[in-house]
């Protein structure tokens, strides 16, 4: 490293000037997300500039998204026994994980949606650990979505893996509001994370979802051995997709998975990533998802909410537990961040 490069890394002064000053003009004023090289500059900022980066990301979120926070609950309709080998996932049937297969019946599914709605959430996502839905799962989705829409005032989202065009069309027709399918990580890193299908196959499903009129929810997991360069690459690949929502997860090293040996991402690293992703995608719904409890704790969650995040998953996740919903709702109240009302557009 040359002396001049070292100085640049220590201060955030890239070839185009200080990256946060550039971002203030480019992202905050003009609403134009950072490029890959610029995201990388943010990710490389020294720790003493984290507060500044978060503050700018928060300004960007307030300017381009507003103060509302979108609250969501999720539930696993079909747990475990998945034929895919996503290395972070305890639900793969290919690993020696303690997670056993389980199916949720319709009554409990509807009850979960009711519990979620009681928190003020506007989104309820039904998730299945599958490569893609078979007819049995589609039949359960038909019955479950119809029952929830009849009984609960909440938007229904689904996350069922890779879809066929016919399945995309049917989900749209049954009123599924949003479809989640995470790209998980940068295209260049994906083969280190999943070998049973490709990044491109996921991308194709997302394009079909968009074309069918459903909102696109697509994010990933931070801390799966990717480099900072790959993290910047991922941010920009997501931005190119123009997703309505980006859920940000932080790796939970689960027993039995190939990533069980990896460390839990460090809080400051995770927070700088949040700021960088917000600066890459000024208008998207950026959601706190799994792993924040381990990586960030209570204080870090607040810092994230004041650093670009404008949506959260409340309550539990699919196989892991979250903070009690009341705790997150109290946090939003103390931060004076209103919960987005149903049918409002962020």
């Amino acid at each position: 490293m040359t002396a001049s490069t070292g100085t640049a890394r220590q201060t955030g002064q890239g070839t185009g000037g200080d990256i946060l000053a550039v971002a203030r003009e480019q992202v905050l004023e003009r609403g134009e997300g950072l490029s890959e090289a610029q995201v990388l500059e943010v990710l490389r900022l020294p720790g003493e500039r984290l507060t500044e980066a978060l503050a700018l990301a928060h300004e960007v979120r307030m300017r381009w998204c507003g103060p509302d926070v979108e609250v969501e609950g999720i539930v696993s309709l079909k747990t475990g026994g998945c034929p895919e080998d996503c290395h972070f996932c305890s639900q793969s049937g290919l690993f020696d994980s303690p997670v056993r297969a389980a199916w949720l019946d319709k009554d409990r599914l509807v009850e979960a949606a009711k519990q979620t709605a009681k928190t003020g959430a506007t989104e309820f996502c039904i998730v299945a650990a599958v490569r893609g839905p078979d007819e049995k799962l589609m039949e359960q989705i038909r019955a479950g979505v119809a029952a929830i829409r009849a009984e609960v005032d909440i938007n229904v989202a689904c996350s069922l893996g890779m879809l066929t065009q016919a399945q995309v069309d049917e989900l749209a027709a049954m009123g599924v509001h949003r479809y989640n399918h995470n790209l998980e990580t940068a295209r260049s890193h994906f083969p280190e994370v999943v070998t049973t299908h490709t990044w491109e196959e996921r991308w194709e499903t997302l394009q079909m979802v968009r074309a069918a009129g459903m909102e696109v929810c697509c994010g990933g997991i931070v801390g799966m051995g990717e480099t900072l360069e790959q993290r910047a690459e991922f941010a920009v690949q997501l931005a190119e997709l123009e997703p309505d929502e980006v859920p940000m997860n932080f790796l939970i090293p689960n027993p039995g998975t190939p990533f069980a040996h990896l460390d839990v991402p460090q809080g400051p690293d995770a927070l700088m990533t949040i700021a960088a992703f917000r600066l890459a995608m000024p208008r998207t719904v950026l959601r706190f998802a799994g792993g924040r409890e381990l990586t960030l704790g209570d204080l870090g969650a607040e810092q994230g909410m004041l650093g670009g995040v404008n949506a959260i998953i409340v309550g539990n996740y699919l196989t892991n537990l979250g903070r009690p919903a009341e705790q997150d709702l109290e946090m939003l109240d103390s931060l004076k961040m209103p919960i987005k009302a149903l049918n409002d557009t962020l």
Binding site: S76, A102, E111, Q115, N316, Y317
Partner: protein, 71 residues
């Protein structure tokens, strides 16, 4: 599930009296439901929902987040 004898660690399934389970306890207190029956170490069928969980052992029956909280 009736008894509360914790012969086995609910996180890793190892003998509770053997080895270091500090990390297991930390995970169970923060983000994990029990995965192994504390009485026989069988893997349990666990369903997590937004506000709680149920865990069923084929030999020792079902426990829930609500029943665990009441203990």
């Amino acid at each position: 599930m009736t008894a509360t004898v914790s012969t086995y660690c609910s996180f890793c399934g190892g003998e509770a009296a053997t080895g270091d389970h500090d990390r297991c306890r930390a995970r169970l207190s923060l983000i994990d439901p029990p995965r192994y029956c504390p009485e026989c170490a069988r893997r349990m069928v666990v369903q997590v929902d937004p506000m709680g969980w149920t865990a069923r052992c084929s030999r020792h029956g079902e426990t829930t987040s609500a029943s665990r909280a009441q203990r």
